[in-house]
């Protein structure tokens, strides 16, 4: 009996192995692109279109690659219509891909919105886009940006594929006003800071240069000499304002260059299960760049993801930042809020004059709440623990002074808005007798 069972098992194993081998042998070679034909365009240059394709001549082509290319071309908004189809090539297995497009001739309006650390909820109710001028694939828009704390007018330009697609260049010219939140003896106050500026960035799309971004920025700040308290509508002016928040002059000019290094090794942007994302940013303002004051800032941000089982993932984020003593408060760091240290209201943990030494750690246990679309679950839950501290230059970093919180959250994908986040956070370091914070934001925390 035992022998019979063994022989059945061996025969079954052989059969399964043979079938799987036969199946792997019968899988056909990839289809290869013989040529790419572009039709219908009256304005857009051919190289602008091919930059967005995920297949190339002599490379493989598949329905997935065609769909991805269609999506990328559609998302540019350069075209009124895009269609990709094929016909057989000169030999078996070769394919001629045809990209049929209809150029968009006129500028168009765009609506945008979201949530950011610095500005809270924001809208771009009017963005007038003049993309793909002269068919070169460049992006140009004029927009009005409104948020809880910021009003801004800006002109943005980007050339996503410079030098045969190896690099990109972007620039932003802007002006507006922002309210900075301060906490003085537990009371929330706002200080208006007007600003104008010009930022320029250049970075790579391929090779080692794709991890690097270089920038230069010239900004003028005008901090108001008054603080408005939100709880009793009172206003504090001039000498009553803490020295760190007092403006030196009517207008302060800061010119700085930035060097940013970034690496994205995540297996998925939306719901990473494995991999690492890291960024290092260095900013230096010097008198050589005609800056009225000098400062330097460094920020290191690392994110690690590890699948536990199924859709259960452990995610870890560590953020460290340092700003020099002579940096003005609007170039320093803050702590507290939905994208910072949860469990505390926006910037509640920020010292007067903002901090120069920041540590923030977040650990999240993520798990899908549905079996559908396992790679990118539309609904998932999160358990988290956060810890962080912010100190001024003369203060010593003391881990006992760190603030801590834990909680749980829900993430769900909505049309248009994308991933929406709701977090219920409970501070374990009690402050202001507040024992709970509800945070609503967009996107992953990290």
């Amino acid at each position: 009996m035992k022998k019979r069972l063994i022989s059945i098992f061996v025969l079954t194993s052989c059969f399964v192995t043979a079938v799987s081998f036969a199946q792997s042998k019968s899988s056909n070679p990839d289809l290869i692109v013989q040529a790419i034909e572009i039709t219908g365009q009256t304005k857009t240059r051919a190289n602008v279109i091919t930059n967005y394709l995920t297949f190339h001549v002599n490379g493989s082509i598949s329905p997935e690659k065609i769909e991805a290319s269609w999506q990328l071309l559609k998302q540019t908004n350069f075209f009124k219509n895009v269609e990709i189809y094929t016909r057989p090539g000169k030999e078996k297995g070769l394919v001629i891909a045809i990209i049929e497009i209809e150029d968009r001739r006129r500028p168009y309006f765009e609506f945008a919105g979201g949530h950011s650390d610095l500005d809270g909820w924001y809208f771009v109710p009017a963005s007038f886009r003049f993309d793909n001028q002269f068919g070169r694939g460049n992006l140009l828009d004029i927009q009005i940006y409104l948020s809880d704390r910021t009003s801004k007018f800006s002109i943005n330009y980007k050339h996503p594929y410079l030098f045969d697609g190896s690099s990109y260049f972007s620039t932003e010219l802007y002006g507006g006003g922002r309210q900075y939140i301060h906490y003085l003896n537990g009371l929330q106050a706002q200080q208006d800071v007007n600003f104008t500026g010009l930022k320029m960035h250049i970075g790579g799309n391929e090779g080692l240069f794709r991890f690097i971004k270089l920038g230069i920025q010239v900004e003028k700040f005008e901090p108001k000499n008054e603080l408005k308290f939100s709880n009793n509508d009172s206003v504090v002016v001039d000498l009553q304002i803490p020295p760190d928040l007092r403006p030196n002059d009517e207008m302060t000019k800061a010119s700085a260059f930035t060097l940013a290094l970034g690496f994205d090794g995540r297996d998925n942007i939306y719901y990473p299960k494995k991999g690492f994302w890291g960024a290092a940013i260095y900013e230096k303002a010097t008198k050589e760049l005609n800056s009225e004051f000098e400062y330097s800032r460094v920020l290191l941000d690392g994110r690690f993801y590890q699948k536990i089982f199924g859709t259960h993932v452990l995610a870890l984020n560590v953020k460290n930042a340092y700003a020099s003593e002579d940096s003005p408060f609007f170039k320093r760091f803050y702590l507290g809020g939905a994208n910072s240290l949860r469990g505390f209201s926006e910037r509640r943990l920020t010292p007067v004059g903002y901090g120069t030494k920041l540590f923030l750690g977040n650990i999240e246990y993520r798990f899908a709440l549905t079996n559908k679309m396992v790679a990118e679950p539309p609904v998932f839950g999160v358990l988290f623990y956060s810890q962080g501290g912010l100190w001024q230059n003369d203060a010593k970093i003391n881990t006992d002074e760190m603030f801590k919180s834990l909680g749980f959250g829900l993430r769900f994908r909505l049309p248009i808005l994308g991933l929406t986040r709701v977090d219920f956070a409970f501070p374990t370091t009690v402050l202001d007798d507040e024992d709970f914070q509800l945070h609503i934001s967009l996107g992953q925390t990290f």
Partner: protein, 224 residues
């Protein structure tokens, strides 16, 4: 300040939900299929539909299939009673492909696969479709003709069996993270002009969203 945030948040939600509800638009890589004839058939106590489609194998469609890339044919059926209430629905899905190495055409449905050596045979089979029985006799009022609404699309080059949201809507949301700034931000973008032209104008999105065709749906169809 907090009141302002709540109002703005509410506005974002109302705006976005309105937009999403109105923009279940057609996938642009789709071709509209015309239904020439529709007849009901009965099987036991259930009723289904036989359809004749207008030829849709244009040079573009034929070339794509013959180069080895699959297309998906999808027919939606909706039965409404005299009060215009939906009383039954069905969907016919066929994946049409060609294996260039074996030189065989193939039509896959959820339960069967058919193989052809001649393209003409594949075309003929695709133009005569039969739904599974999808409505019971007792749901139909014998004294009044129900109406069946039907529309067909061919999704040229498709890796997925069914895709309900238009590409631009699906991908409108969040942009990937950048390293330009030390503050994190997450947002969405929406092309307002495309949205307006979807409903007001003659946009490609609007054109490729197949119109419903209407046929009488008697219950005395032939037994099959």
């Amino acid at each position: 300040m907090r009141k302002n945030s709540v109002i703005k948040l509410r506005f974002i939600f109302i705006y976005a939900m309105h937009t999403s509800l109105f923009s279940i638009a057609g996938f642009s890589q789709t071709h509209t299929i015309k239904i020439v004839e529709l007849r009901s058939y009965t099987k036991n106590e259930s009723i289904g539909a036989n359809l004749v489609l207008a030829p849709f194998f244009s040079e573009k469609v034929s070339g794509t299939i013959q180069s080895g890339l699959p297309s998906v044919l999808e027919i939606e059926l909706l039965v409404r009673d005299r009060n215009d209430k939906n009383i039954g629905e069905n969907r016919i899905i066929r994946r049409i492909s060609y294996n260039i190495w074996d030189e065989k055409y193939r039509i896959d449905s959820p339960d069967t696969s058919l193989f052809f050596t001649l393209f003409a045979d594949l075309q003929n089979t695709c133009l005569l479709l039969k739904s599974t029985p999808f409505i019971t006799r007792n749901k139909l009022d014998e004294n009044h003709l129900a109406q069946i609404y039907v529309r067909g699309t061919l999704r040229l080059i498709s890796s997925s069996q069914s895709r309900k949201l238009a590409g631009w809507l699906d991908a409108s949301a969040q942009a990937p993270e950048t390293i330009s700034s030390d503050e994190s931000s997450s947002g969405f973008r929406l092309n307002f002009s495309a949205l307006v032209s979807l409903f007001m104008g003659n946009s490609p999105e609007r054109r490729t969203n197949a119109p419903w065709q209407q046929f009488p749906f008697p219950i005395n169809g032939r037994d099959q």
